[in-house]
């Protein structure tokens, strides 16, 4: 079945396509009688103008891009939730793309979003200085960085005050009783560096024995690392506290430690960071720092929408407040 075009409508209604176009964009410029006549034809065929043609003809497009590293990551799900809540209320379509941690794909994806004339772009970039962000700056497409801050005065971002989050966690862990502290920074992502800085600035460094550096992102990574930790450090004899800078990884760690019969929080206290949805429901509810990820998404989306629709130009630079959430995984260890 061929698509109905504006010409079909015009012909059927016995008018020119300009008039049909007007009915759709500025109805009051058309005489009431003709307008209603045209509208009835439009309705009859449930005609909808082609966004493609409209875009080519210069109209701003009604879709916004959302670029992340990993589509199925719980962190991004919460982000998506906030974003979706904003855009599904408007008539913007979401075009998502996951780079799968591949910087080349990240750039290509963003380039394609720009080329496709997305009205705006939300991106959780691999780093504030990555190629994708450069591209965005040159493109003049409105965009907001997610989960990432930058000093660039022109660039908008919505992130969490990770430094403060690290401090909150340090203060909590400082009250716990343990013989060794193991820290898993999990990545060199800016957000992680921030929370680590906040953490280390506010914890008694004497207590701080080993720091492991590792590149872990997933539940599986955590599971694997926990095995290594258990083999390397004496978790059975020494009361241990683990600070894992990412909930998803932390849950993997917990799962493995439980399998190894190490009581949590009795023998090993574990804390995470992010407060993803699972953290409250998981095996041992996880002490963590909430980033209000859903809020992050919502705020960023609203700001972007404002910029697109009302041509607001001042960049937004927003840090959501982190909140320490103490759950079972570190309880009873004061």
């Amino acid at each position: 079945m061929k698509h109905i075009t504006i010409d079909d409508i015009a012909k059927e209604a016995g008018v020119s396509k300009s008039t049909v176009s007007r009915v759709l964009s500025r109805p009051n410029l058309v005489k009431e009688r003709t307008r209603e006549q045209i509208l009835s034809v439009i309705d009859k065929y449930s005609y909808v103008p082609s966004a493609l043609a409209q875009g080519l003809a210069g109209l701003p497009m009604k879709n916004i891009g959302f670029a992340v590293d990993e589509f199925s990551n719980n962190f991004y799900i919460d982000l998506a939730d906030g974003i979706d809540s904003v855009f599904s209320a408007s008539d913007y379509a979401l075009q998502v793309m996951s780079s799968r941690w591949n910087p080349v794909r990240e750039i290509q994806g963003v380039r394609s979003m720009i080329i496709n004339r997305n009205a705006g772009i939300l991106i959780a970039p691999s780093s504030p200085g990555c190629g994708a962000v450069d591209l965005l700056k040159k493109s003049k497409v409105p965009f907001v960085l997610l989960n990432c801050r930058t000093d660039d005065p022109d660039v908008s971002y919505v992130s969490c005050d990770n430094y403060k989050g690290g401090r909150l966690m340090a203060e909590h862990i400082g009250t716990l009783d343990f013989e060794q502290l193991i820290i898993l920074p999990v990545s060199d992502h800016q957000t992680v560096l921030d929370r680590m800085a906040g953490f280390e600035d506010h914890i008694d460094m004497k207590a701080l024995r080993p720091i492991m550096s590792s590149n872990a992102k997933t539940y599986q990574d955590g599971y694997r690392i926990a095995q290594f930790i258990a083999e390397t450090y004496d978790l059975v004899r020494k009361k241990t506290c683990l600070f894992v800078a990412n909930d998803y990884v932390a849950i993997g760690v917990i799962t493995k430690l439980l399998e190894l019969k190490i009581p949590i929080p009795g023998q090993a206290a574990v804390a995470g960071f992010d407060d993803i949805r699972i953290s409250a429901m998981c095996r041992i509810p996880l002490t963590t720092v909430s980033q209000s990820v859903c809020d992050m998404g919502r705020i960023a989306a609203q700001s972007l929408l404002g910029r697109i629709q009302h041509h607001k130009t001042e960049p937004i630079k927003y840090l959501v407040e982190p909140r320490l959430i103490i759950r079972e995984s570190t309880k009873g260890r004061t």
Copy 2:
């Protein structure tokens, strides 16, 4: 910064735009020297043709639509993961739309996907006979139904053998010891009806006391319903088994019951259905039926891609095998 167009490239390279176009589509039709010359210019400006214009000019578009009820639902995320794994390997972009359980939005969304000339559409429809599916059939756009089966011989679908899943669960619950069985169908979605049919056909109906009918989709719904159940049925005195036809809801139920100090599985055994990611990690790991949701997504996506790229025309009708997964939430109750 204005977009680079094919004309700019042509001008700079001193050729006509047709030649540039050819270099991009069928390079071997162009003399090697000119081709390389043009390619270098293209590279210099990192020119990428506008998908909009290409689409309008009749080229098949490189994006596929993915329509679901709720974008941030764990079930759909797993689906999306499988889908993404296929399309991110090709250069197709995913355009998602969440109807937020609103049938009007579902139709509008699909209509807009069709109008926008998506190369193909994946949809987890509210029902196999909903307006969105009708639209799709008329549109001639290749599409695959997800999490939904239909007798229509022309329509492709990938779902789970929910009836069998229900049977598997019935067989498991049949081995448990309990005084009352509470069933939460949670919705009248086809998949749920199927699994309920499979369940009821294979369980001893004498044991089957109350059946609750309820329209629950979320964790919060489960949480709320559990409160009601605890007030209505005597969970404290009667050993109870609850079959909740949806993991997400089941986890909400468990959470609330635990808060009410009802031991699980000791006093109340709970089983779910779906095996979403959380189910293995949650407070009380959940006995459930795995639908291999990620596989569903992958298989559907691959089939759709085959249809788009190789014009394969035979519809796919695929049911992934359900697997019973026994976890702690029903253990030790034989």
